[in-house]
């Protein structure tokens, strides 16, 4: 049966008139079904990390932070090359010198001048008989130590503490979380109960008690800080493990007889990478803060090593007369933490495929 004859209405007449020029040839059957063009994929496929990187690049704050962090890392790793003086070298004769930067001396901040007791503006460097050509870019502290060098080395120590603490946090948290999530059942319930109990203890308490027993030192502080944040990591890891455990490819691997640790390494861990990276990124500023907090109240890194926190604490003591001794280390620590936080936020958004573009 052929198709319907269309009705002879004025409406249809009009259409036919409009389309009268059409070539008869156009009205032949064309069997182009399922053309290749239809199957073409619209956008190139990216794997998970490439996709996330693309998203991250759009976040200007995160990208700037990324480069700032790399810069800071390079400076602190190669501290001996960057620091103009020995951070621990004391020069009592040249104590409390204001900042002086060659080339920027026209700015009142960096001209090496300060107000003496009589209220007059004098050249402190001259007064202390500092020879020509010796500059302290950010001034010196009450023992004549160069602030800039101290800041550079201080950053190094703060970062070492932070990364070490984050590493321990990571290892411990992941292990606990994966085991708890994978084994499940009563072991999991028990492990989670333990966590609930532990999380009822304020971090402050843990830190103070630990430091009372272990005298403050680099290692004890690192361990203490790691103890305060591993719980979050383990919870996140556990949740992911449980979710991934039920995925089909994991079940397939189990059926194929793959040993458990291999499944963990090949299937489970890689799929948590995004989450883990974000957690670590968030743990770092938290560790830096905690360490500086401890140093500020006096139970942090012991002398002669100085972290940024120690520097801020020292600077605070002479704040009224020499504010720059506190501001500069405070600024540095704020920038570091801000950068880590921005990057962490950016990474978290970039790794989340559900975010609206």
């Amino acid at each position: 049966m052929s198709h319907t004859e269309i009705a002879k209405t004025s409406y249809n007449e009009q259409i036919l008139n409009q389309t009268s020029q059409l070539d008869d040839n156009l009205f032949t059957l064309d069997n182009r079904m399922k053309s290749a063009k239809n199957e073409e994929i619209i956008a190139p496929t990216l794997n998970f990390f490439q996709d996330s990187w693309r998203r991250l690049k759009k976040n200007k704050g995160a990208m700037i932070s990324f480069f700032v962090i790399i810069l800071i890392l390079i400076i602190s790793i190669f501290a001996p090359f960057f620091a103009p003086h020995d951070p621990n070298a004391q020069n009592p004769a040249w104590s409390n010198l204001p900042p002086k930067i060659p080339g920027l001396e026209h700015l009142s901040w960096f001209n090496g001048m300060s107000v003496n007791r009589g209220g007059a503006l004098i050249d402190s460097y001259e007064q202390a008989s500092v020879p020509e050509g010796v500059y302290y870019y950010l001034g010196t502290d009450s023992l004549g130590r160069d602030l800039l060098s101290r800041i550079i080395y201080g950053t190094r120590i703060s970062l070492i503490v932070a990364f070490a603490a984050a590493l321990i946090n990571l290892v411990f948290g992941i292990t606990y979380g994966i085991i708890s999530g994978w084994v499940g059942g009563r072991v999991d319930s028990f492990m989670q109960r333990v966590l609930e109990i532990l999380s009822g203890i304020p971090n402050l308490v843990i830190v103070v008690l630990m430091l009372l027993v272990m005298r403050p030192g680099l290692v004890s502080i690192i361990i203490t800080i790691a103890l305060t944040s591993w719980i979050t990591m383990s919870r996140v890891v556990r949740a992911q493990t449980i979710r991934l455990k039920q995925q089909e490819y994991v079940l397939a691997a189990e059926v194929l007889g793959q040993p458990v640790y291999k499944i963990m390494l090949k299937h489970i861990l890689p799929n948590m990478m995004g989450l883990i990276i974000v957690q670590v990124m968030f743990a770092l500023p938290s560790a830096i803060f905690f360490e500086s907090f401890l140093s500020f109240i006096g139970i942090g890194i012991p002398a002669p090593n100085a972290s940024l926190g120690t520097l801020i604490s020292d600077g605070y003591k002479t704040f009224r007369f020499l504010p720059h001794l506190m501001w500069y280390p405070a600024a540095v620590i704020s920038i570091i933490m801000l950068s880590f936080n921005l990057l962490a936020d950016g990474l978290r958004d970039a790794f989340d495929p559900k975010m609206k573009e």
Binding site: S2, L16, L22, T28, L29
Partner: protein
């Protein structure tokens, strides 16, 4: 024919996405008559939801209405300010959504969700509103409405929640009710109940309903007219009988034949291929690539709407006099037979 309730002309809407501009609606036009139920049918991505959201003024921020008109009471809704649109929503045009489990606010009791419409849209006093809310719940088939009015959504089943959603929609006393796939998330038994409810309400209140679905089977029970959409355009529109028993567009044939029916014989036929990429809509008829009856001209120029019978239009070049004769699918032939019989019996004019 009844009076016009709403008229959509040449509606063209696009989204700005990170991959480019997505042409969601491409010159959609249809009329809606008072008191009727118009079903809009199509696959996901065909533009059904975008159409009704344009009417409601509920388009998201990255949407652009490029041209077109939506005439309601002699005004073009697209020209309205946000405030004006807010005024119309709920009180003159109401909408219900697909998933009853997530449509209700979990932290407010169902009474307050109905009463707020009565108080704010119909300026009722509290006491009056409470009574009316109870009436609405009763009308919609919720047992013991006086007691249950203070309960929370999670204390109701899916089917009941959809009834509550309908009650909320009715609270504004709207002229037009838009139902966006209201039965898709419900199981078959409940589906039938909800459809019965809608029909009952339509009769009592002489309401005009737009019913969106991707399921032609549901439509048969509830609609007066049907519009079939594909790739952002209407491809065929007509009465239920026209579409079910006298379809002209190959896409409609595809939809009908892929719908399993116990009475008509024949194999299940699925439309091959996938919906087209609306970022770069093809020239000509978007359905051409999946159309086994495609003509050469389908790849070059879009077909106009041909009038098949009064108020039945189909946009396919197959209706042009110059088009060759084609073999209509078996199952469709049977429907044509049905159609002829219905005409002979006088069921259809």
């Amino acid at each position: 024919m009844n009076e016009l309730a709403l008229s959509v002309k040449d509606l063209t809407v696009s989204f700005q996405t990170f991959a480019g501009k997505l042409h969601a609606l491409r010159q959609v036009s249809f009329d809606l008559y008072q008191g009727e139920t118009l079903a809009i049918v199509g696959e996901s991505g065909s533009g059904k939801s975008v159409t009704v959201r344009s009417i409601m003024g509920l388009l998201s921020k990255n949407t652009l209405v490029e041209k077109g008109e939506i005439r309601f009471k002699n005004q073009n809704l697209l020209d309205y300010t946000d405030k004006q649109k807010e005024k119309i929503r709920g009180s003159q045009i109401a909408m219900i959504f697909q998933d009853p489990m997530t449509s209700l606010n979990p932290t407010l009791n169902i009474g307050s969700q109905i009463i707020e419409v009565l108080e704010k849209k119909r300026a009722m006093k509290r006491q009056e509103a409470v009574e009316e809310a109870i009436n609405l719940l009763d009308l919609c088939g919720i047992p013991n409405p006086e007691e249950r009015i203070t309960q929370y959504p999670h204390q109701f089943s899916g089917g009941q929640r959809q009834r509550i959603v309908i009650a909320i929609a009715l609270a504004g006393d709207p002229e037009i009710l838009i139902a966006d796939e209201p039965t898709t998330a419900l199981d078959v038994m409940i589906q039938a109940q909800i459809i019965e409810l809608l029909k009952k309400i339509q009769e009592e209140k002489q309401m005009t309903i737009i019913f969106i679905t991707h399921d032609l089977g549901v439509v048969a029970n509830v609609a007066d007219r049907v519009a079939v959409m594909y790739a952002g355009k209407i491809v065929e529109i007509g009465s239920v009988d026209d579409i079910y028993y006298h379809p002209q567009h190959p896409y409609t044939w595809g939809l009908l034949t892929s719908m399993p029916t116990p009475d008509l014989e024949g194999k299940l036929y699925a439309i091959p291929g996938t919906p087209p990429d609306l970022l770069n809509p093809p020239e000509g008829d978007a359905f051409a690539f999946r159309n086994e009856y495609a003509l050469a001209i389908d790849f070059v120029q879009e077909p106009p709407f041909f009038e098949v019978r009064p108020n039945h239009y189909a946009a396919t070049w197959l209706l042009h006099p110059k088009a060759p004769s084609i073999e209509v699918p078996e199952k469709i032939k049977e429907r044509y037979n049905h159609f002829e019989e219905k005409i002979k019996r006088g069921d259809i004019q």
